[in-house]
Symmetry: C2
Subunit: 415 residues, 2 copies
């Protein structure tokens, strides 16, 4: 597909220009985008209505249609997001680790953009503005490929963002939406390793697996979040219950929600009835291991597959473990390297859990729901990585950059 | 191939154990390995002689046989390398960026091993000890796959390293050499993404391309080093000549040697004859652009392909450019993102070059030969990356690790 190659080439050219554009100018463009989105909301809502009409025709679910809808409030949300990105510190150009070598060379690292980033996502059109802004702020050009059901909305948003780029005298090709909804377009894009440096897919496990299987370009992604809480024998029961309820029910459909609860055997007789009754009050279905069901017989039966399951729903798997070693071994075997928390009063166990559990986010006495770019202080989040290469855990602007070595000499040669 | 899967599985299990072994214990094992290699050099030389006999039978070149040979001095070199790695600081466990969030959570990053690393390399058997040591020190297990011509030497080295691991009570599977020389073994290894986290190929471009094409596992690599020096109009001629001669001739067969010299047009009439005569004294064949040949007619003709060429030999391409923009544009088009240097007295041009050239190592007034892990102060080098993801430039121990988020709470939930 020639058109996709052309888009990628233009993006590569624009990336060279963008990598040397000042923060001030990038922020100016972001703020212009923000204002223009609000100003042109009539146009956006009109284009969005085409997508909505088609979605209704196709019989998409109300939840899908809801996620697809642009209105005054969602457009203002997008606009606010853009000006928030403008206000974040720019990671590009930061110089660190400057050290003098014995031969007088001054060696350091300068933070630079990655280059061209392809974002592949599903129905929410606000991702178009959000992802484009994060890429641009970190000096990267973005090639955006949203779901076919949002194509009119996505193209309309991109048109407005490009208008702002023009006004700020930044190449329009810094932000491009792929206008072809055919799957072949995305497959072609995933082969263009010469022009595209990185792919970030955002969506369900199925989408992400399809992208990883096709891509010749490095992919930063997580497949799923099977997050665990281990309630240790010394845990404060109120704190443990509070955190479990929060982690499971505050927003069950997201990747950092609790999916499996591990309970220390010594407290299971007392804690399990307590937490079960609280969870059931919150309409949570509990699937327990045999030992758990011996204590609370009303629990449904958990089978082997349940330990691997990301329910994304008001369902929780519960298992009794002998001790912290049992908890760590369970997480090592069934976990997804996403987020795990221990609830404990014990100093040694808190340190062991932080040390030995090598998931991307590990907490002591706090809800798994904090595994999030904003909550961890990254200022924004472009996605979460559960692959250890390049970035591990929530990714903000810095994770969209890399570093090069810079060296100041005065004639040094190697002997 | 069941045997390869078994090796990979064992490596994954050992990685979990190794990630929690103290620095002291890892250093103890490295020092034991160092001593044992020297102690058992008779055994090594005997096993190596099998490889050498076979190499002579196959009619391998003297250079190849030289690289393959183990003797007292190369074995002592390997042993010294191991104790030097033992003396390096351990990156694992370092905690950085600890910050208190508004809700009281204490959020930071802890450095952890990547996990299981596959190293694919060519004939030098010393890479077996060197790569294994760097992986182990950074908490990673190593699966080593050397060239078939060195198989007896590599297996003998691994046997000694494993003996030291046993003595130090560290699982032997921390270091494994693939005993099968069939190419199918390496192809199988490259599909085991479930067990292996990272592949590092070390060798020629052909080997690396073959690995990248087959691998489902992330690969850190560079294909080639087409390194440039730009001699600016304000350059000190003595310094420029010194640096060019050093970068081209000190060790022409390595990736950070100079391949293309760019000369500012304003000084070309004076500098080009000077550097040409010095290069010819050092037996360097020079291929010049038309403008260069108009000044020094004896130069051979450079064609378009020469600008992409990594000669790895006493051959140099020379091009006259109009100014720093011409030099940066040439590097952008023909460069390999490896290493580039500017020779200048001009403040602005030095800053522009450092800023605008996004190769992995960028120097001012110094030889490209400094693009090396030891020279840049990393303490060691496992390889060089010209891909911007994860690591860019020479990679030391830190580049064999990643970070996870660690969070200390006291009952926080998300609202």
């Amino acid at each position: 597909m020639k058109q996709i190659v052309e888009i990628a080439k233009k993006s590569r050219e624009a990336a060279h220009v963008l990598s040397n554009i000042s923060s001030g100018k990038k922020n100016e463009a972001l703020n212009k985008m923000s204002k223009l989105l609000v100003k042109k909301r009539g146009y956006l809502i009109e284009k969005n209505s085409k997508d909505l009409a088609f979605a209704r025709e196709k019989g998409l679910s109300n939840a899908m249609i809801d996620r697809l809808t642009l209105n005054d409030s969602t457009i203002e949300g997008m606009a606010k997001g853009l000006s928030e990105v403008a206000a974040l510190p720019d990671p590009v150009g930061e110089v660190t680790s400057m050290r003098r070598r014995p031969n007088g060379l001054l060696v350091g690292k300068m933070r630079i953009p990655i280059g061209v980033i392809g974002i592949i996502y599903e129905s929410r059109p606000n991702v178009t503005a959000d992802a484009a802004a994060l890429c641009m702020k970190s000096g990267n050009t973005a090639i955006l490929r949203g779901g076919s059901e949002a194509i009119n909305s996505n193209l309309a948003i991109a048109k407005i963002l490009q208008e702002a780029l023009r006004e700020a005298e930044i190449p329009e090709a810094v932000i491009q939406v792929i206008p072809i909804t055919d799957r072949k377009a995305v497959n072609e894009m995933l082969t263009l390793e010469e022009y595209i440096d990185l792919i970030i897919p955002r969506g369900g496990e199925e989408l992400i697996r399809a992208v990883v299987n096709k891509s010749k370009i490095p992919v930063l992604k997580h497949y799923k979040g099977v997050c665990h809480i281990f309630v240790d024998s010394s845990a404060d029961f109120d704190m443990a219950a509070n955190i479990c309820i929060n982690a499971k029910t505050q927003r069950p459909g997201v990747c950092n929600a609790l999916e499996t609860l591990l309970v220390h055997k010594d407290i299971s007789g007392e804690f399990l009835p307590l937490i079960s009754s609280k969870l059931r009050e919150a309409d949570v279905i509990i699937k327990g291991c045999e030992r758990a069901r011996a204590i609370v017989p009303e629990l449904e039966e958990a089978v082997e597959d349940d330990w691997y399951e990301e329910y994304l729903d008001l369902v929780l798997a519960v298992r009794i473990v002998d001790d912290i070693d049992g908890a760590i071994a369970h997480i090592e075997k069934y976990g997804s390297l996403h987020t795990e928390s221990i609830i404990t009063k014990d100093y040694k166990n808190s340190q062991r859990f932080l040390q030995e559990v090598n998931s991307s986010t590990v907490l002591v006495n706090a809800s798994t729901r904090f595994s999030d770019g904003f909550e961890l202080g990254l200022g924004a989040e472009i996605g979460i990585s559960t692959t250890k290469l390049h970035a591990f855990g929530p990714m903000g602007l810095e994770e969209l950059t890399t570093t090069k070595f810079i060296i100041y000499g005065d004639g040094q040669i190697r002997t």
